[in-house]
């Protein structure tokens, strides 16, 4: 009875449930990605209790309208004929004990997460190794996770080198590295050269081989020079930066590392 106070919405025209619009009509500007995230139609009063009853939700979802559009029944698709599974032969051999399956492992190897304070051009302080204490310019992170750094070589003797992030303090000083191209350097560039297997020769042979290996190949020296040329130009633009990079860092009396701002 209409006296109940409920308004029955007219069929289809003034009240169209949003569901209909979404699936059956498209607006000109709408690309699938432009949709606003849909608010829940049935908010929780308390966990486990929705605001609207089953019959109200049926009405809200617009199933009545979809049915009406489809002549009284909900539109159905024909079930796709299931592809016949190939006939499996029974195995020839059943193992006596249960064979254990290894656990699923979906982890992917990734380079170490780079600290937010380390960006290309940051001055780093190396803490271990033969260059400990040296202040060095960071170039990029290689795919193995190691950091590619350079002295520059002319300034403090540190060549193009890989360094682990854990053995480094990042300072807040940045150098302009826009003029430097580091694309050609990767982990393979720094790997040990594969030695050709030699048959055991005379004593003379061995010494000759060893001397050859000790010098750096010329192309690596040239790479160092090209990288450093652009860097040194931008370093000399800042007063005192060159002598800063040439000096080693050390803890003096009264310096508390946990209170120092780098």
């Amino acid at each position: 009875m209409l006296g109940l106070g409920q308004r029955f919405p007219p069929f289809h025209t003034a009240f169209e449930p949003a569901a209909l619009h979404r699936s059956y009509t498209t607006t000109e500007s709408m690309a699938p990605k432009d949709r606003k995230p849909h608010v829940c139609r049935n908010p929780d009063l308390i966990r486990g209790v929705g605001k609207y009853s089953r019959s109200k939700m049926y009405h809200k979802r617009g199933l009545w309208a979809i049915k009406a559009k489809n002549g009284g029944a909900f539109p159905k698709h024909e079930k796709k004929a299931a592809a016949a599974a190939p006939a499996e032969k029974p195995p020839k051999f059943y193992p006596a004990d249960d064979v254990k399956k290894p656990l699923v492992n979906k982890r992917k190897a990734r380079p170490t997460k780079l600290r937010a304070s380390i960006t290309p051009g940051t001055v780093l302080i190396i803490l271990a190794g033969r260059f400990k204490g040296k202040r060095v310019v960071f170039l990029k992170q290689l795919s193995s996770g190691l950091l590619l750094v350079t002295g520059p070589f002319k300034v403090n003797g540190v060549p193009l080198r890989r360094v682990n992030q854990s053995y480094v303090i990042a300072t807040s000083t940045k150098v302009d590295v826009s003029g430097v191209s580091v694309e050609k350097f990767d982990d393979k560039y720094f790997g040990k050269k594969v030695e050709k297997k030699k048959k055991k020769g005379e004593g003379e042979f061995f010494e000759a081989e060893k001397e050859e290996k000790n010098t750096l190949p010329h192309d690596k020296k040239d790479d160092q020079k090209t990288v450093d040329a652009a860097l040194i130009a931008s370093i000399e633009a800042v007063p005192d930066l060159k002598s800063y990079l040439g000096a080693r860092f050390s803890l003096k009396s009264g310096m508390k590392p946990h209170e120092l701002v780098f």
Partner: protein
């Protein structure tokens, strides 16, 4: 040795412990033997134990528990900020803060400057010594 700095309404104090460490606050009322009601332009008025406060020489002219607007106006009139920053205590704190925030590069530059200054002083001293000798 009488006391020179008294707890009174309008006394500026430095907070030496707690969340508001290092801030200058105004004593706006005294609650009991140990606690004061304390206010500052950038904090919500609240109580603080006297042990957390160090009294300064600065005093402003306010009535008991003024509202924020009056308080700020009184602080401007007494020029608290400049008086504090020009006092030797205030200047020391500013220098301490600056030194704590120094970069590694800044510390290096300061080291170079100190060496240079010492060099100049030493040259002058040598000159003076030569004159008297």
């Amino acid at each position: 040795m009488p006391f020179k700095r008294y707890v009174e309404i309008g006394r500026i104090a430095l907070v030496n412990y707690g969340k508001d460490y290092g801030k200058l606050v105004v004593i706006v009322d005294v609650i009991d033997q140990n606690r004061a009601l304390v206010d500052s332009p950038d904090m919500v008025r609240g109580q603080m134990n006297f042990k957390r406060l160090t009294l300064t020489d600065i005093k402003i002219d306010i009535k008991r528990v003024p509202n924020k607007k009056t308080l700020i106006a009184a602080m401007e009139a007494a020029d608290v900020k400049n008086k504090w920053e020009n006092s030797s205590w205030g200047r020391k704190l500013i220098v301490q803060k600056k030194r704590a925030s120094l970069n590694d590069f800044d510390r290096f530059k300061i080291m170079l400057a100190k060496i240079k200054k010492a060099g100049v002083v030493r040259q002058e001293l040598a000159k003076l010594k030569k004159e008297t000798a």
